[in-house]
């Protein structure tokens, strides 16, 4: 069976969208229900900063992959690993 490698990337992006929704919900709860103080804003800032860092590192590595490459599975297993 042959399919383009970007199928995995699309699945990843769908999960990334779910992650973004979760992140938005978390930040919304902190801002809506947290006390108006330094800790609330600092926590939200740290969350956003580390999230950006993780996304940037992921992007740096994922951009190097040729996602248009076709992949064959259940044909020659030796090329899979």
């Amino acid at each position: 069976m042959t399919f383009p490698l970007y199928i995995f990337l699309i699945i990843y992006l769908v999960f990334l969208l779910v992650w973004l929704i979760f992140s938005f919900i978390g930040i919304y709860h902190m801002i809506k229900f947290g006390f108006l103080n330094f800790t609330t804003f600092f926590t939200v800032f740290i969350y956003i900063a580390i999230s950006f860092l993780m996304l940037a590192v992921s992007y740096k590595y994922l951009i190097q992959i040729d996602w248009l490459m076709n992949v064959t599975i259940f044909g020659d297993l030796s090329s899979t690993f």
């Binding site: 992650w19 919900i25 978390g26 709860h29 229900f33 992959i65 992949v71 090329s79």
Partner: protein, 180 residues
């Protein structure tokens, strides 16, 4: 946002005595679990997969898949840790000179705010059970009110005995004011 000077169901002239969250040890436990989940997959990977299939980081399919899985795992670990922190941070008990307020975040888009006036309080009990609660001085405080089916419950708060004493004093003062 929640303002300390404008509490839910604000009573004019009300003074805040204490704002409580779960003991900091509960937060440390969450952080330790997060760190474990952060490091453990790396150790397991290098001890098992990388030694059995050393080519996994060079395969045409396995390498991109590996990157996607690692990115997915750490992004979701991070957001779940954030959720865990929110659960700790947004659960608050506020003791004022008039009442006790419990603000509890029950998952997402579910928030309970309850209060008890001191003149309705009948019994206050503190409880410290277990090794860590005894050593680190945290535990529960139960406040029983007249006619209430459920007791008001301060969960895993620092210095529960001290909090119980504060509530008892405020209850006595409130009842004396109501009788006079």
């Amino acid at each position: 946002m929640l303002y300390l000077y404008r509490l839910p169901g604000h009573i004019s002239g009300e003074k805040i005595i204490k704002v409580l969250r779960r003991d900091v040890f509960i937060l440390i436990k969450k952080i330790l679990l997060f760190l474990l989940l952060l490091i453990l997959p790396l150790i397991l990977f290098y001890l098992t997969v990388a030694s059995i299939y050393p080519d996994i980081l060079y395969g045409e399919i396995s390498y991109p898949l590996f990157l996607l899985v690692v990115s997915f795992y750490y992004l979701f670990l991070w957001v779940f840790f954030f959720f865990s922190f929110i659960d700790y941070y947004l659960d608050i008990w506020i003791i004022t000179d008039e009442r006790i307020i419990n603000i509890e975040q029950e998952g997402y888009f579910a928030r309970t705010i309850s209060e008890q006036r001191f003149y309705r309080v009948q019994d206050v009990t503190s409880e410290t059970k277990g090794f860590f609660p005894t050593v680190l001085k945290y535990g529960n405080v139960y406040v029983q009110t007249a006619g209430a089916k459920e007791r008001f419950f301060f969960q895993e708060i620092p210095n529960p005995d001290q909090v119980r004493d504060i509530i008892i004093k405020l209850v006595e003062r409130s009842k004396a004011a109501h009788h006079s």
